[in-house]
């Protein structure tokens, strides 16, 4: 199935459900919650890794990895990722030599030398990512008391808050399931990275913190990390804030679940198999019961 047809299916399915939902949501009093007191409704974006035939765009992951290298990795780690993952199919598929050189920038402990001291050696492909800090205490000491979260699961560990009236809830739930809305964390991450705005006039912002319209409580320890032209892309893609945020979010979504493509590909076959099996079993049942009054 090509991506185009599947996204078409997705959209039309979505449109069908949205249609039925609209009548319900039309009654909710503050129609769009995005303007009400500080609440920003995170928009749902189109990601290549969404939907039935989701995949990761190699070029986008490479751009995202560049954003990570240039900006994020100064403070954040990807502790669940191994360097070798960067070379594996379905991901950024970077050349082995490039990743080896990237890994070798870091030192890892590997047993003890003959003098009984911890033996340090450059990281290899098989090693897990080495973070910028030895531990949370060191991070907090260096960063004004805040500990930057590990990013390897960030797109799965975040969801978006939505104001849903109770009567619309079953419809939204159904819509989320049918349109396979598993990208809330990605939407949140993108919205956070692009969510640095001036605080409202009456907002009491604590010193050292930044205002972010998406972050819970709106006061975030991380200063605005990305901005237009911050990262120079190798493939000529215009380096806007929005583009950087999308690219690094896609990279983090891949880092959170490198098996996603394999899962969706296998899933399509499993569904086809089960539907045919169910059809055959139904036919058998009909056949066996054909002369039975019941």
């Amino acid at each position: 199935m090509t991506t185009m047809t599947s996204s078409l299916v997705r959209r039309s399915l979505g449109a069908f459900v949205i249609g039925s939902v609209l009548s319900a949501t039309a009654f909710s009093a503050p129609a769009s919650a995005s303007e009400t007191a500080g609440h920003y409704e995170v928009p749902r974006l189109e990601w290549t890794f969404g939907g039935l035939s989701g995949y990761f765009d190699k070029q986008q992951l490479r751009r995202g990895f560049k954003v990570y290298q240039t900006v994020c990795q100064a403070c954040h780690n990807l502790a669940h990722l191994s360097y070798r993952n960067l070379t594996q199919p379905g991901g950024p598929e970077l050349p082995k030599e490039e990743v080896e050189a990237y890994a070798a920038q870091k030192q890892v402990a590997d047993g003890f030398n003959d003098a009984g001291e911890v033996n340090m050696r450059p990281a290899k492909l098989a090693d897990l990512f080495v973070g910028p800090f030895k531990n949370d205490k060191e991070a907090a000491a260096a960063l004004n008391g805040s500990v930057p979260p590990d990013l390897s699961l960030i797109t799965k560990a975040r969801s978006i808050e939505r104001n849903i009236e109770w009567y619309a809830f079953p419809f939204i739930m159904l819509k989320d399931i049918l349109t396979q809305y598993q990208e809330q964390g990605a939407d949140y991450t993108h919205a956070l990275l692009t969510g640095y705005t001036d605080p409202p006039a009456d907002f009491n912002l604590l010193p050292g913190l930044s205002y972010n319209r998406v972050f819970p409580g709106h006061q975030i320890g991380m200063p605005q990390p990305l901005s237009d032209g911050m990262v120079e892309y190798d493939d000529g893609t215009p380096s806007t804030l929005d583009q950087q945020a999308k690219d690094v979010t896609a990279f983090l979504a891949w880092a959170a679940e490198p098996s996603l493509v394999e899962r969706k590909k296998l899933g399509a076959w499993v569904l086809i198999y089960l539907i045919i099996l169910a059809g055959l079993l139904y036919a058998s049942k009909k056949l066996i019961w054909r002369n039975v009054k019941h």
Binding site: A157, Q182, G267
Partner: protein
């Protein structure tokens, strides 16, 4: 409906074995077990549940080979399964989504039992074993969720184990002592995780034992059916289990499998909480502590009662009351198809359970608390008031004399509604 054995060993070897361990006879009799012809597709959930239990055990045993029940390693070992174990992601998602599917099926199975009066004599023991299965399932699922050792795992364990401290109001120190005994220390820590893992591995096999009893009891009294009328003529009204009901159950299982697979492969995290992908942190409480969806109605009941001990009693009472259902329902008519009043109360009960589920996840406000109290009241009223009272005052619609009546005159008889097979899910 225990039936006489029709198995006759044909070879000398099977005759020899039959005289010593009649296991072939047991299987053969199982296969020809007479089952009412008029069962609808709601009756296929028994087979679906049996499959789910086996699926959970198989995936669970594989996961346990790679899981490290240690507070320092548990979360990372789960991620290792997701990333580095061959098809580990499939095992883990199948197990996590499988728990949800197990509960989805068990709730449908239970509502079916209530609608068609499957708990009434002579099926009281069958029903009560079922309630015990439900209780053990809940304990097992809760413990399994805790093993991930994410933020929600950790805080769910903290909140639920702390419920026992409410016993301090009965006898000073009783609750605190009990909680520390459960924890194996003074906080939820490594000792707690270890015992949760041990019990999570043990309880599924207790479930298998209970399921054996459940099926045994079923084979003594026979299946209920949509009319609620007992089988009178085995020849005319039943069919052997094998071939007729195995194909029907297998078809339903495959259809259920489509939904299961859809969630596993395409929305594996929809039914879980994102916060549980954050490693457990005893120093940081998440803003909303919410259990998995299948516990939400009971969580709403817990929160609806203003006193802590009262809430705990109400929550456990909501399950304990199920044990008494066979004696709370005073109607002699089993199937709600012939109970015009009870039917409405039944659907109101289903609605209440769904509403409590919604409220269990909603942030606490004055309105949500009031709504929770209202639906909690109805939850208990359904069992304690509706079941005894409606049974006495209701005039049931005429039931068919026999199951056969519903299909022998099918063309000219529209009233046999329970007998018509409903469309597949």
């Amino acid at each position: 409906m225990s039936h006489a054995s029709s198995y006759e060993p044909k070879t000398s070897v099977t005759r020899w074995l039959d005289a010593r361990l009649p296991i072939v006879r047991f299987i053969a009799d199982f296969m020809v077990f007479p089952t009412p012809r008029n069962l609808n597709y709601l009756w296929t959930f028994g087979a679906i549940l049996a499959f789910m239990l086996i699926a959970q055990i198989v995936t669970g045993v594989i996961l346990a080979m790679h899981f490290a029940p240690n507070t320092a390693l548990a979360f990372d070992s789960v991620e290792k399964i997701m990333r580095d174990v061959n098809y580990g992601w499939l095992m883990r998602y199948a197990h996590a989504v499988g728990a949800s599917m197990f509960f989805l099926a068990v709730y449908i199975h239970m509502f079916r039992g209530i609608y068609y009066g499957s708990y009434k004599a002579p099926r009281e023991v069958l029903w009560m074993i079922g309630v015990a299965i439900f209780l053990v399932m809940m304990a097992t699922a809760f413990m399994g969720y805790s093993l991930i050792w994410g933020q929600m795992s950790f805080w769910a364990v903290t909140v639920i184990t702390n419920l026992f401290s409410s016993l301090d109001t009965l006898y000073s120190g009783l609750g605190t002592t009990l909680v520390q005994w459960i924890w194996g220390g003074f906080s939820v820590d490594n000792a707690t995780l270890n015992r949760l893992f041990s019990l999570h591995y043990l309880l599924p096999f207790v479930l298998v034992g209970l399921v054996v009893l459940h099926v045994w009891a079923l084979h003594v009294v026979g299946s209920n059916n949509p009319t609620g009328v007992e089988v009178k003529n085995v020849e005319k009204e039943t069919l052997p289990f094998y071939a007729y009901f195995t194909t029907k159950d297998l078809f339903a299982l495959a259809a259920f499998g489509v939904i299961f697979a859809y969630f596993v492969f395409f929305t594996p995290n929809y039914l879980g909480d994102a916060v549980n992908y954050v490693p457990a942190n005893p120093l940081l409480t998440p803003p909303h502590i919410v259990p998995e969806w299948y516990f939400l109605p009971f969580y709403a009941i817990l929160r609806a009662v203003p006193s802590k001990l009262g809430g705990v009693l109400a929550m456990f009472g909501a399950i304990v009351v199920l044990f008494f259902v066979p004696w709370l329902d005073t109607s002699r008519v089993r199937s709600a198809s012939y109970r015009p009043m009870f039917r409405w109360f039944f659907w109101a009960f289903v609605f209440s359970c769904l509403a409590l589920g919604y409220l269990g996840a909603a942030p606490v406000t004055e309105t949500s608390t009031m709504a929770s109290q209202f639906f909690t009241f109805y939850y208990f009223a359904f069992f304690l008031i509706v079941m005894p009272v409606v049974g006495i005052y209701e005039t049931p619609k005429p039931q068919p004399d026999s199951i056969a009546d519903t299909f022998t005159h099918k063309s000219d008889d529209g009233s046999g509604r329970g007998a018509r097979p409903v469309a597949a899910e």
